[in-house]
């Protein structure tokens, strides 16, 4: 029997607990504690997927998240989860899994034809063709390419997976990696009393010590010590995915779900003063022809499967190595009674080779594997020994070990430069001590005991940065000694015939890299983009440096000089749901509710979103015009009440308050008498309108401002900014009271009558309380304010009461007012009323218009300084043919409607657009529609006839240009 199989038990599994699962429709059995990969190997499954481009058979290459090949789709309760590495997928009872990127099946993949045509499909082939005929790209080539591309399929399930909330944590030190260095550092820091979080991507903590029998006792004791420290948190199955600077880190924790295939990712954001990056190193492959055959694996991975899961990857294996670490695998295989045909070591001599021979293993020194043989899986290897002789060995498993590359992603995200380290033939980071420390194999320290010592050293540096001196070594278990080690000898590729892969997922070979260089893509970043090397889901962890070395060799420079492509977050791919952190769907943004929200709901209102606010649009579930017009007409004929509580409200006070308002408003406020309001416009410093609103003077040094709902925040910031930076010595305070006050508008010919019945002891006659007056009142027993201002164009008032009394006052108003004819009206009706009156809102005050454009130029102070005074005088902002100016529009045919966004054109000239309609509504007191528009040179075009056209709706309408004040231009009603 050849191929992988389970030969016994392992440290991570419970042999007594069987777990059944389904892969590509077939049922298999594994053990509790298995990963999907170990269980598949135990069942002799060698092919689990197909590669991206050539659809070559792919097996299991590693035992961790760096897996390039064994990507599967998990079928869970929320549909498919594609591209999961089988190597980190825990085996749950009832797990259902499918292979990917093959059709119709893994064994017989029709797309394998790409593999057969691979000589015509090297890296970058698509840049050189598909250009002819020119229409064919979108109609033919691209759809085919898109269908062939991608790996797994993403479902569209009826129920979406939940999005777990992000959690936030604080710590003194974040230790990343729980290998010997990380465990040691965390323990020492924890014993010194610091708050420590120790995170490791693995479910089992221990890193390299997990696979060495000599280290089990030390590991167990260390974990027990850490667990006993209340100031240390242990986070297994948690990958630190990003180091964002200023002590902020993101971490992805994977938690099992209640059903098979329902595991979820949780985001943790950690704020830590310092860090120890004990992130370890990742084994790399060797680019030897045939290195992608199922049955080829990395040596460290094979050791993990054997020690952890009792699974051997073949019955007769060979190991090709340039370093000592791979011998641990050889020795363990031998110990467990599996045939190790040979260890092929490119080095002349090493202590590990000696120990191996001593244990009875065959070691070929100064030798290399020239190619790996086999059709659909490994059948043998061709070896060139030290004398130059070629031999063929029959094996069913080949383990490669090209060395270990430090995991430097987090360090480089923190800006650490990388230096070449010759002993490990890889780059190591140089992290600024103010940010933290790197420890263990992550910066080239070889050997578990050396790493443990290095962890203590890192902790010592961190403690000293915290001002904690270390007088004696901490009381921690003593680790075993490292055996003598030999140096590694760089071995990146063995040139020869046949494809030698450096990126197994994207099918990038050494030939592709040489081709890239031939074509001038010889900078490491160009090579990466041209060949897509290192851009797959595994981000080139096992083959990245190998490809870069091949590039260096092709260019005739040192590997150290070829550089590295940018390491970008995330260290491990993060699901959308995790990063969204629970703030998606309904919870994407908060809702701001008016104080009377529940009343509006009960009254049957349809709501509209205005920014974050929910405002009643119309008190009807019918959202057509008839309900809206009914409300609006009722205001014009009798009286209506509407909730305008979302307006921005600011109290400005102080002996310089009047001067401050003169500075921020274009018109003059200091002349405002007490007990009066004034319409105010604010400009930006560039002379464009920022906002409009009202100013009410309640006292000599006390003003109340309103702003539009949409601009409330911007205006407050604007005022605060200028107060604190331009006028810091003025005696003026600004308070945001927007949420403190509920505010209602009562409008219509009967509004005075209604209010007189409700407001205590205040003379509301036109003489005593004229248009634009303001006073304090008592209403329904509540102290509030009454403003006589009108947005609707009717006789109108606004009542302001503390928000907690909103319901009391509103209810009282309706109780008294309804028999007199008062009815509520919503935002749509309010809009209809203001359009007829010619009042502007954000549709006209749109960040591009000046006061002059909107007919408000006369309000602006002519000589005094105010925000915008200087630049508003620029010629390009003056009235004239180049400016879009506010006009009214009316259809010539009263049966035709107007549409917002329609453009105005003069059919007699060849001008395209002269402007556009901004707001429109059916009129309340005449037949037909009226609207407002911004029209080039509009002030001079009164009476002109133009066309309003909306090509996207196929509409054309002849219109007349009028004054924007369609109703009561003399303001007789508001002054009544």
């Amino acid at each position: 029997m050849t191929g992988p199989t389970r030969i016994g038990t392992g440290a991570f599994i419970d042999d007594t607990q069987r777990v059944s699962f389904r892969f590509d429709g077939r049922v298999y059995e594994g053990r509790r504690g298995d990963t999907l990969a170990s269980a598949l190997l135990a069942n002799g499954v060698t092919v689990v997927g197909r590669s991206f481009k050539y659809h070559r058979r792919r097996g299991i290459y590693t035992a961790g998240p760096e897996e390039p090949s064994a990507l599967v789709t998990i079928i869970g309760p929320y549909g498919r989860e594609p591209n999961r590495p089988a190597t980190v997928t825990p085996l749950d009872e009832g797990l259902v899994v499918e292979s990917q990127n093959r059709w119709p099946s893994l064994a017989f993949d029709a797309y394998g034809v790409f593999g057969a045509l691979s000589r015509f499909l090297p890296a970058g082939f698509y840049y050189k063709t598909f250009m002819w005929p020119s229409f064919a790209w979108e109609r033919l080539y691209e759809p085919l390419i898109r269908r062939a591309a991608g790996l797994g399929r993403l479902d569209h399930p009826p129920r979406s997976a939940p999005s777990p909330e992000t959690q936030h944590h604080h710590a003194d030190v974040l230790v990343v990696g729980a290998g010997p260095a990380g465990l040691s550092a965390a323990a020492m820091l924890g014993l010194a009393g610091l708050r420590v979080i120790l995170a490791d991507q693995d479910a089992h903590l221990g890193g390299g010590t997990l696979l060495d029998a000599d280290w089990q006792s030390w590991r167990t004791q260390m974990l027990a010590r850490l667990a006993a420290l209340p100031n240390v948190r242990l986070w297994p199955r948690t990958t630190v995915i990003g180091a964002y600077g200023h002590g902020v880190y993101g971490a992805l924790e994977t938690r099992a779900g209640t059903q098979p295939g329902s595991q979820t990712g949780h985001l943790h954001v950690v704020r830590a003063a310092s860090t120890v990056l004990a992130t370890g190193s990742v084994e790399r492959l060797i680019a030897v022809p045939g290195n992608d055959l199922p049955g080829v694996m990395l040596a460290g991975a094979a050791l993990r499967y054997l020690v952890g899961h009792g699974v051997c990857v073949g019955n007769r294996i060979a190991i090709f190595t340039n370093n000592d670490d791979a011998y641990a695998t050889a020795l363990e295989y031998r110990r467990r009674g599996i045939a190790v045909e040979a260890v092929i070591d490119i080095r002349e001599y090493s202590p590990a080779a000696d120990r191996a021979r001593g244990a009875g293993l065959t070691v070929y020194a100064s030798a290399k594997v020239e190619s790996i043989l086999g059709r659909h899986r490994v059948s043998g290897i061709k070896v060139r020994d030290r004398s130059g002789q070629a031999l063929t060995l029959s094996v069913d498993g080949v383990l490669l070990s090209g060395g270990y590359t430090p995991a430097t992603a987090l360090a480089t995200q923190l800006g650490a430069p990388l230096h070449w380290n010759s002993p490990i033939a890889a780059f190591i980071p140089d992290l600024a001590p103010s940010l933290g420390q790197v420890a263990g194999s992550a910066h080239g320290v070889c050997g578990l005991a050396a790493a443990a010592t290095d962890g203590l050293s890192a902790a010592t540096h961190v403690l000293s940065a915290f001002g904690i001196a270390v007088s004696e070594p901490p009381d921690l278990p003593t680790p075993p000694n490292d055996q003598p080690r030999g140096d590694l000898e760089p071995c990146w590729e063995v040139p020869g015939r046949g494809k030698a892969f450096v990126d197994l997922q994207h099918d990038v070979t050494t030939a592709d890299i040489r081709l890239a260089r031939r074509e001038g893509y010889e900078h490491v970043e160009h090579m990466k983009r041209y060949t897509t090397h290192g851009m797959a889901t595994d981000q080139g962890r096992i083959g990245g440096l190998v490809g870069q070395a091949v590039l260096a060799l092709a260019r005739g420079i040192d590997v150290a000089e070829v550089g590295q492509p940018k390491a970008r977050p995330f260290v491990e791919p993060v699901p959308f749901a995790t990063l969204a952190g629970g703030e998606s769907g309904e919870h994407f943004k908060p809702r701001r509710l008016l104080p009377l929200h529940d009343w509006h709901v009960a009254a049957g209102a349809t709501f509209v979103t205005a920014g974050l606010w929910m405002r009643p649009l119309v008190y009807s579930q019918d959202t057509g015009w008839s309900a809206v017009l009914s409300e609006a007409r009722h205001v014009r004929r009798e009286a209506g009440i509407t909730d305008v509580s979302s307006l921005g409200k600011l109290e400005v006070a102080g002996s310089d308050a009047a001067a401050f308002l003169d500075f921020v408003y274009a018109n003059t406020m200091s002349t405002l008498p007490m007990g009066r309001c004034r319409y105010g416009i604010m400009l930006r410093e560039d002379g464009i309108l920022l906002d409009d609103g009202t100013v009410a003077r309640l006292g000599k040094d006390h003003f109340v401002l309103t702003t539009t709902t949409v601009n409330a925040t911007a205006v407050l910031d604007h005022l605060e900014f200028h107060r604190q930076t331009v006028c810091p010595h003025w005696d003026v305070t600004i308070s945001d009271v927007g949420d403190h006050w509920a505010q209602f508008a009562i409008a219509g010919p009967l509004s005075r009558a209604v209010l007189s019945e409700v407001v205590d002891q205040t003379d509301l006659s036109n003489e005593a309380f004229p248009f634009m007056a303001v006073t304090g009142i008592t209403i329904a027993g509540i102290a509030g304010r009454l403003f006589r201002i009108s947005f609707s164009g009717e006789l109108a008032y606004e009542v302001a009461v503390p928000a907690r009394h909103a319901l009391t006052v509103w209810t009282r108003l309706l109780e008294v007012g309804t028999p007199l004819g008062l009815k509520p009206y919503g935002l749509d009706a309010l809009n209809t009323l203001r359009i007829e009156k010619g009042h502007v809102t954000g549709a006209e005050l749109n960040g591009q218009t000046t006061a002059g454009d909107l007919g408000l130029g006369r309000l602006c102070k002519q000589t005094a300084d105010y925000i915008g005074a200087a630049l508003v005088q620029r010629e390009a902002l003056q009235s004239g043919d180049t400016r879009l100016e506010l006009v009214g529009v009316k259809p010539v045919d009263s049966e035709q409607r107007l549409r917002n966004g329609a453009h105005l054109i003069d059919p007699d000239t060849d001008d395209h657009s002269l402007g556009f309609i901004t707001s429109s509504t059916p009129a309340t007191e005449q037949v037909g529609w009226v609207g407002l528009a911004l029209l080039r040179g509009g002030h001079a075009r009164r009476g002109q006839r133009l066309l309003a056209v909306s090509p996207v709706h196929g509409e054309t309408c002849a219109v007349e240009i009028t004054s924007p004040h369609h109703l009561d231009p003399e303001n007789a009603r508001v002054r009544a």
């Binding site: 020119s134 790209w137 889901t537 977050p569 959308f576 769907g585 994407f588 917002n900 657009s913």
Partner: protein, 434 residues
Amino acid sequence: MKLLPKRSRPRRSSGTDSGDYSLFRLLREGLVGHRGWRPAWHKAEPRARYRVVIVGGGGQGLSTAHALATQHGISDVAVLEKGPIGLGNVGRNTTIIRSNYFHPDNVRFYEHSLKLWETLEQTLNFNGMVSQRGTLNLFHTEAQRDLFTRRANGMRLLGIDAVALDRKEVKALVPRVDLDHGRFPVLGGFLQPRGGTVRHDAVAWGYARAASRAGVDIVEHCEVRRVVSERGRVTGVETTQGFIGADIVCLAVAGHSSTLASTAGLRLPIESHVLQAFVTEAIKPVLDVVLTYGAGHFYISQSDKGGLVFGGPIDGYNTYGQRGTLPVAEEVVAAGLTLLPSLAKLRILRQWGGVMDMSMDGSPIISRTPLEGLYLNGGWCYGGFKAIPAGGVATAHLIATGESHAIAKHLDLDRFADGRLIDERGAGPYPWAH
């Protein structure tokens, strides 16, 4: 500062790939192990002097050089790039092309670019994978609908494609969109059918190859430290490879426009801000169009390789750091998940950033400067990629003739002082708000 012997005569582009790209050639090369391919562009050694020096080997710089050589017969041009070409914003963007703008001058400019994209592959003989599958902008309020209506009508009046879609039509085009359950239900959308995506690296390489074949010197690893001038006139640039003389210097270094301009004593109406972008693991097709969300700044498309490329707003503070903060990333992803809930299990592979030239009105700058002989192509905000063909044509025209190209007259630097701002959003002189 290295001192190299300067050659005074232009060197022919020997050693570069002079043949055309075609299927026939690909097949032929496939039979001989692809040994016949040569460098796509010549990596030139800089000469002592050029008529035109373009600073910046990104999309705009290479496109300008290409246009100078092929449309104005000016090939005495050097493109100086501080690193390898194409690794700035042209290599970092989300690859979207479209011409759906508000201001008619902007519409005309970007539409000119879109038309050039449509024939670019043939022009450059390089497959840029120009894919016009449509850009769809969703809206969630009536106010937004009105705004998009206005924009679409403006486009249609200029003869450019724009279509209004109701909810059903949106769902038909993007079956996975959630119309109703998000915080801001979708009311409809506006589609520009000819909008789409382009493979960004191919654009840089394609223009480099074409410009190089037309005789332009592309000089990599040559960082310009200072613009040199004498008596109010540009005389050349000081670089890490020595002084290079020039009659005309054009800055095309968006992200670093201010840095270079300041060496000439100029302060620009620009702030540099970071824009983040993301790509997911590759999956089978789930999204055909480029989709933008109207209730949060978010846009997404699916590349031909299967990964979903998406992005959101700028982070909002001056930076040259090319990476953004985690909260912005979280918010962008939350918007995406709200819009397309089936993405819940899809994993995001990489996040990165680019440095944007955010201008004071949100529109770009193609202009001369107060320094005679110094031209500026910059201020692109996050809209520079789609403008590469037209930006190059317009800049080359300005340089070659001294007059603004008809499509780019509105993009002059003087507009800020004069008040002729092209503010699409109405956000004002606050670069972080555009």
